[in-house]
């Protein structure tokens, strides 16, 4: 089996940890760390308004990031808004678009696969407005299908807010078809791409989605930065979500006016270091190529499923996951007991509801373990993981679980 050529780019792996928690946050390649460092060491300067060299370089990098991200998802760069993360981006859509465009009785389609960040903003907006939340019925595996989507789509549907890839099940939503169906009834589609952006080649023009949000920290980038893509025609009519420095065109005591999008949505000092670091993260991914990345993940994932599904007393909830996420439990062992065993063995996985309680309810479980495979994981990692799962099963059985 080949050696993983990327492992060495990730300093955190040097201490021997087996990292299967990318779905929570990814590790950062040295190049990204260096870029953040470069900003703090050499360029610390607020952007857009400085004339000195550091400020000019910081501003250039800051705006180049927008172009890099735009090319990455095939957007126009004015349609790329910097946010604090997926959560902030989805809230921006819900409150700046949804709250102003919806009226009582309008329908919002969501699903039980949603992360709380893709669900709760719409629940809140629906409550404020008297709009109706409708859930796409999931199929027996827990997937969103086109037919199921059609069964809840009506002429009253105004918003469709769905995850592109579920952070618990790892399933890919057939979002392109859903978008075109939604558009037929005049609904707009908000895509939560937090778990998709690091796996799939996303072309927003081809998808024709109305909004799409993701986070830097889950795609090898820094914390504190996310991207909201929005179609120009929507961004044009939307009110700002936050008001402050740098987003206004004119300020008078009685009335102010805003800059064009995307600036009108970027109030105050943005997370400059993180923005700049995101550029490097995108470039790192582009250099390797999303196809290479997903090929690698698929291989390691298939190998892991083959191994783990042979272990007795382990339930896997999503064997057919396309994106390297494995949701499972040791039988009779609450996930928070199990996780401590893995932590003691230097394996980073996660236990709990993964900010997606509705899918736990749907699965009929209180919580589960989640291992997520990414670029820097190896077959060897899987071998060790398999072995530790076996030990865990034995250990807890002996304790009497």
């Amino acid at each position: 089996m080949m050696n993983n050529p990327w492992v060495n780019d990730f300093p955190q792996l040097k201490n021997g940890m087996i990292y299967f928690d990318t779905a929570a946050t990814s590790l950062k390649p040295q190049a990204v760390i260096d870029m953040v460092d470069h900003y703090y060491k050499d360029l610390s300067a607020n952007i857009h308004r400085g004339m000195y060299e550091a400020a000019v370089e910081a501003t250039t990098l800051y705006e180049e990031t927008r172009e890099t991200v735009a090319r990455f998802i095939q957007a126009d760069s004015e349609e790329v808004i910097y946010t604090r993360g997926t959560t902030s981006g989805l809230n921006l859509v819900a409150f700046s678009y949804g709250l102003n465009q919806l009226k009582e009785g309008d329908e919002i389609i969501v699903s039980e696969l949603e992360h709380h960040s893709s669900f709760l903003p719409w629940q809140a907006v629906a409550k404020k407005i008297g709009a109706v939340l409708k859930f796409v019925p999931l199929d027996e595996e827990g997937r969103i299908t086109i037919a199921a989507f059609q069964s809840v789509l009506t002429e009253r549907t105004k918003i469709v807010a769905l995850t592109y890839v579920s952070n618990v099940m790892g399933f890919i939503t057939p979002i392109q078809e859903i978008i075109s169906l939604a558009h037929e009834v005049g609904a707009i589609v908000v895509v939560d791409a937090a778990q998709a952006i690091q796996h799939l080649d996303i072309n927003v023009k081809e998808l024709d989605c109305d909004f799409l949000a993701f986070s830097g920290h889950k795609m090898l980038g820094p914390t504190g930065i996310g991207i909201l893509y929005g179609k120009a025609e929507h961004l044009k009519i939307m009110e700002p979500f936050e008001y402050g420095g740098d987003m206004n065109e004119d300020v008078e005591k009685d009335l102010s006016t805003w800059k064009q999008y995307p600036q009108k949505f970027e109030a105050g000092t943005m997370p400059i270091a993180s923005v700049i670091g995101l550029k490097t993260a995108v470039e790192y991914i582009q250099n390797i190529g999303l196809e290479t990345i997903s090929d690698h993940i698929e291989k390691v994932h298939r190998y892991a499923i083959a191994q783990i599904s042979q272990i007795r007393d382990v339930s896997i909830y999503n064997k057919s996951s396309e994106t390297g996420i494995i949701a499972f439990n040791l039988e009779n062992v609450p996930s928070h007991d199990a996780i401590t065993f893995f932590a003691e063995h230097n394996i980073a996985i996660r236990a709990g509801q993964h900010c997606a309680k509705l899918i736990c309810d749907w699965l009929g479980i209180h919580s589960c373990l989640r291992a997520s495979i990414y670029l820097y994981n190896t077959y060897k990692d899987v071998d060790y993981f398999t072995q530790v799962i076996k030990q865990a099963v034995a250990y807890f059985k002996e304790l009497g679980f």
């Binding site: 609450p334 996930s335 928070h336 007991d337 401590t340 065993f341 932590a343 003691e344 236990a351 709990g352 509801q353 900010c355 309680k357 736990c360 209180h366 919580s367 250990y395 304790l399 009497g400 679980f401």
Partner: protein, 140 residues
Amino acid sequence: MSGLDNLYREVIMEHYKNPRNKGLVEDSTYKTFRIKNPSCGDDITIQSLVVDGIIKDCRQEGHGCSISMASASVLTEIMIGKTVAEALTVAENYLNMVSNKEYDEALDLEEAEVFSGVRQFPARVKCASIAWVAFKDTLK
């Protein structure tokens, strides 16, 4: 593995498998408090019946990991019969012990002593605390 064995002590497993005072009562003279920890899925409710400053009964219900379940069970057993003042002192010291803060080592925590292993597992402190925090709230 000594750390883990220190966590999963026999007494704890015993309480996990045979929880004491489980099941709530429908009686408004009981004070009830529920705490959910949404990130791990723990959900625990504690009920206390205080008469003349003495805890006459203590009930628990919920689901969660073995540590949270066992600590709820141990809690109820220890608390019944104590005065409110005693109960609060024990709870305070227990909570300090599991979170590795200073506590009165001379104080007898009775069976709850077995949760001292939690100190080595900062991420499990919440599991061991949740029932006890809920209990304190029933005495407010």
